[in-house]
Amino acid sequence: MLGFNLKQLTGVGIFLFMIFIGVPFAIGVTGRWDFYFTLTSVALLAIASAGVWLTFYIGRINIGQGAFALIGAYVSAILVVKVGWSFWISLPAAGLFAAVVAILIGLPILRLRGVYFAMITLVLTQVVTLTALALPITNGARGISNIPLPSGISLFGIPILPDFVAMESTKLAFYYTACIIMLLTYAALYRLVNSRLGHLCRSMQQNEELASSIGVNISYIRIVIFAISSFFGGLGGAMFGSIAQSVYPSSFQVADSVNFMLNCFLGGLGYVFGPMLGTLVLYFGWDLLFEFGKYQMLIYSTILIIIIRFLPNGLLSIRFSKGGDK
């Protein structure tokens, strides 16, 4: 259905094998169990980054994904803790809630372009943080802690999803869950970009006036895309809250929003799978540089500057620079 050719199919096959069998095997051999948490985080942040990438695709710089991740995390936490919903139902609900908020916020601000839109989104994360501090339902600065682990789901007595509490290794379970959601996100993103909606987005990214002259309802598509983008943000955030079993106003900060954007830049704005790679390199790279202690930030930022200087189209542009398919 996705319309891959053989070469792409092989690539996807290798990738699936790596994340579902290769990584757990490598971790088992080396005994670095902490990598599960790192890689799970990468998968979840990649989901949120996918949303940011999508707003880039309509020519908008979005530095506000942290806001929607935080909204998603709170919505899921509140639904699970206070309303007693199953986590698995709260997950899409969190995404949908974030999308609805995005529509309400997007209606006025999506008219803005370039740096003006970017600045407004930059403020959003702070606004949501302050809202979470102020509202009674979010429990202020104490946040929501002791969120129970996802419970099992069974349909007509057949277990569909296992109960995380009963599991020996919740790390592995979360890792697999995060990977599966990430794969679904990117499959949807790939499909979207290669369908008519994606083509319309490209037309808007390149010239909004011309797009509207050929009958594209640009304000409608902007809203739809921003909503989908924020849905991904909410999804990633909700999952994150569930793994950490807690949500605080500071769970996602402005710096996280900036990182979501950087992930997209680093991976490549022209490639659907760019933000996934970007997230892996940024997050994992940061972790690997931990041993350098106080020089961690210095080395990290130097490398970033060099990458962006010499690969302005992102890491994935190395692969494609020799011509071939685009």
Binding site: M1, A188, S195, E209, L210, I214
Partner: protein, 260 residues
């Protein structure tokens, strides 16, 4: 027969400046009508109002008995009134073929969700778009450059690409913004032939804003002349050529210029 498109008392004011003052004229089906005038006469503003890219201050534009002024541009495009731009307004990083395919989106039968899931209708649409793009590019003599990236095209081809994008939407009225600007004689003549064949073979009514007088006289069925935001004349090319007000607007009155 009632006119296809009517411009009725259209006025546009920017603060104290009146760009268009109570302009009225009719456009008949299948004609080629040019709007001419010296720089700053308000031609482009008038075009923008007809395509609803800017609202009118007062007055209205009627298309097939329906008011189309002060709507969103995409709605006007859906009704069949489509404008083209000057050559810098293109989809830079798309190929010629891709641009023409995207521009056909109004013809889509499947929904956006249908495209996402790859429904049967969506697949038929995609095939039909590709086929129509091939046909259109062949018709416009752009077959050889169909796989070129738009940003790499020379000026003349960009102009043609703009027309191709406009035509791909299946318009009833096509508004061309200076289609001959910056072209040499041969290129202009080719473009004149092209615009004429668009009208003859695709049943498209063409309105154009243009400076190139020989081309305008050659191509137009009728001409509307603006000066300082006012309509000063309307008629066939030969009527316009002999109209004193027009000559005055373009050459200045005899008194002013030579002091006689």
């Amino acid at each position: 027969m009632s006119p296809l498109l009517q411009v009725k008392n259209v006025t546009k004011k920017y603060g104290g400046l009146t760009a268009n003052n109570a302009i009225s004229f009719d456009v008949a089906e299948n004609e080629i009508l040019s709007v001419i005038g010296p720089n700053g006469a308000g031609k482009s503003t008038l075009f923008k109002m007809i395509a609803s890219f800017t609202p009118t201050t007062s007055g209205e534009v009627i298309y097939r008995g329906e008011r189309i002024s002060n709507l969103k541009p995409h709605i006007v495009a859906r009704k069949g009134v489509v404008r083209t731009f000057q050559e810098t307004t293109i989809f830079k990083s798309m190929t010629v073929h891709e641009s023409v395919v995207v521009a056909q989106h109004l013809r889509a039968k499947a929904s956006l969700a249908g495209y996402f899931w790859g429904s049967k209708t969506a697949k038929e649409d995609v095939a039909a778009f590709g086929k129509y793009a091939d046909e259109l590019l062949e018709f416009l003599g752009m077959w050889d450059i169909r796989n070129e990236q738009a940003s790499n095209l020379p000026q003349g081809s960009l102009r043609a690409l703009g027309i191709a994008i406009g035509l791909a939407t299946d318009p009833k009225v096509l508004l061309l913004d200076e289609p001959f600007a910056g072209m040499n004689h041969d290129e202009t003549m080719n473009m004149v032939d092209l615009v004429r064949s668009v009208r003859d073979e695709r049943d498209v009514t063409v309105m154009l804003v243009e400076h190139d007088m020989p081309a305008v006289m050659n191509i137009s069925d009728r001409i509307v002349v603006l000066n300082f935001g006012e309509k000063i004349a309307e008629g066939t090319p030969s009527e316009i050529q002999n109209n004193e007000k027009v000559i005055e607007a373009y050459l200045g009155s005899v008194d002013d210029e030579i002091g006689m």
